[in-house]
């Protein structure tokens, strides 16, 4: 499904701010894998997802999605394969456009944008049904501007947009981190429902170790631009937060110096 071969990325090369964010990273995902990604601040987790999404080109290595070499594809072309939800709820939706208009944009992901109507009547029923499943009352507010919604509602909507047209790969970058705990739990539950129902291959970055263990079938830990730990199946289910902390110290040769992570033990 996803094959990442030996990718590297250095930001600001040749300057004082030079930062090698990915170091020869290799990763292969099977169809239907639900992978949680953990690691300290600056480990390169977001950079990995951005590399897959094509926010910029990688310096070396290759990225294949479903057998297609997308390494040279620009971001908007890769979007045909991908569903994405960002950490900041502001990032995933167009605030000045209506809920149904946002969904209509998402329904056409990967298609050529033509001079046909941007939204047709028949779609609205689909949107209403999908929104009803979120249980946030949005199904009666199809024409409301998205800018009026709360962070949690926007994030749930973004999730719906990312999966409305079934993506080959779903990329979630700490998509519940900006929400209050109750809302975060709700959005996470919705995430699991959608992913399980559509059997989506998913990469989900989280800073919550408990979630990382309990959700999905595989877990990877990153440090310093590399994957330092990769576990799946039964072995993953048996993990404890202590195991992960220990693993981190062992592999990186340092204590887990991420306050945010410790707090969520």
């Amino acid at each position: 499904m996803l094959e990442i071969k030996n990718i590297s990325k250095t930001f600001n090369p040749g300057t004082v701010n030079e930062k090698q964010a990915l170091r020869g990273l290799t990763l292969t995902l099977k169809d239907g894998d639900f992978v949680t990604v953990i690691g300290g601040n600056g480990a390169g987790k977001s950079t990995l997802l951005n590399a897959i999404a094509g926010t910029w080109k990688v310096d070396e290595g290759q990225i294949l999605i479903d057998g297609v070499d997308v390494t040279k594809y620009p971001e908007h072309k890769r979007a045909a394969f991908l569903g994405r939800v960002f950490q900041d709820p502001m990032n995933g939706t167009a605030a000045t456009m209506g809920i149904e208009e946002n969904l209509a944009l998402a329904l056409r992901r990967g298609d050529k944008r033509t001079l046909k109507p941007g939204i047709v009547g028949a779609e609205r029923k689909l949107y209403r049904d999908m929104l009803a499943k979120l249980g946030l009352g949005l199904e009666n507010r199809l024409t409301s501007k998205v800018g009026l919604l709360s962070g949690g509602q926007r994030q749930a909507l973004t999730l719906l947009m990312a999966t409305l047209k079934k993506p080959k790969l779903l990329l979630l970058d700490e998509h519940t981190a900006a929400l209050d705990p109750k809302t975060a739990a709700k959005v996470l539950e919705t995430t699991e429902n959608i992913v399980n129902q559509d059997h989506l291959t998913t990469l989900m970055i989280t800073h919550n170790m408990k979630d990382a263990i309990s959700i999905g079938n595989r877990l990877i830990m990153m440090n310093n631009g590399q994957i330092i730990f990769d576990v799946e199946g039964e072995e993953k289910k048996k993990l404890t937060v202590e195991d992960l902390l220990h693993k981190f110290a062992q592999a990186s040769g340092e204590e887990f110096a991420n306050d945010r992570m410790m707090l969520t033990n």
Binding site: H76, M90, T114, G118, S150, G151
Partner: protein
Amino acid sequence: MDIMILINALPGAAAQGLIWGIMAIGVYITYRILDVADLTVDGSMCTGGAVFIMMMLNGSNVWVSMAAAFGAGMLSGLATGLFHTFMGIPAILSGILTQLGLWSVNLKIMGKANQAINVDKYSLLVSLRFIKNVPFYKNTILVVALTSVVLILILYWFFGTELGCSLRATGCNDKMSRAQGINTDFCRVLGLMISNGLVALSGSLLTQYQGFADINMGRGAIVIGLAAVIIGEAVFGKVFRNFGFKLLAVSLGSIIYYLVLQVVIWLGIDTDLLKLLSALVVAVFLAIPVWQERYFSKPVKKGGNS
């Protein structure tokens, strides 16, 4: 101060306002929809006039000449768009570069700094001579008003299409747009092209109206355009919610701007000061939303995400 002088001048002011209103709709597309302040317009206004007048003088039909002016405006927008996307130059600077380049282009098109066209010898669509004492269907105010309505309807349709929606999304949130598979660079370029096409079309109408094209005719156009957008929103913002009506508000805003200008002139203000006044008025109006936010907004509750 003879009130009759003012009253006699108002229809002409309204006609000019309508013509500049088409330019202002172009500005609305870049400034409000694409979220870029495009300074190309100061040059493409004249490009439209120059292309139009030279084609007319060389025997083309008025409609063909106006279409050519529209096309030339689109090319100006294309230049700015490529500076911005392909060459990565900030939008404002891209517009300034095109505007400067167009100065030479416009001179070359016209061969000199201005060209006149006689409404008696050429069959023009609009003219300041067609304001009074003409059959109503030839009346310039009616003709430009109809043209504006048709353009607004076309734009209303376009921004409701898939392509038009992706332009709006690009202006609103480009990260999200790319994530949804929209080619944001293409959308920016297309938006700039449509906008400057309208601006040049407005230039071709203004040229007919005043009977000449002049190298300076677009100077400060961006400020007039912004003034029209802002006035339109201030006066009609509460009542016009539909996108088509928002465009209509821009056109009406432009008419109000020219009517007020006419009153100010009638009051006897030194006309050399008009541009300074316009600039200050627009500056203050641009500042109002910022001031509202900074000094008058209620503190928002932090957190509270559910």
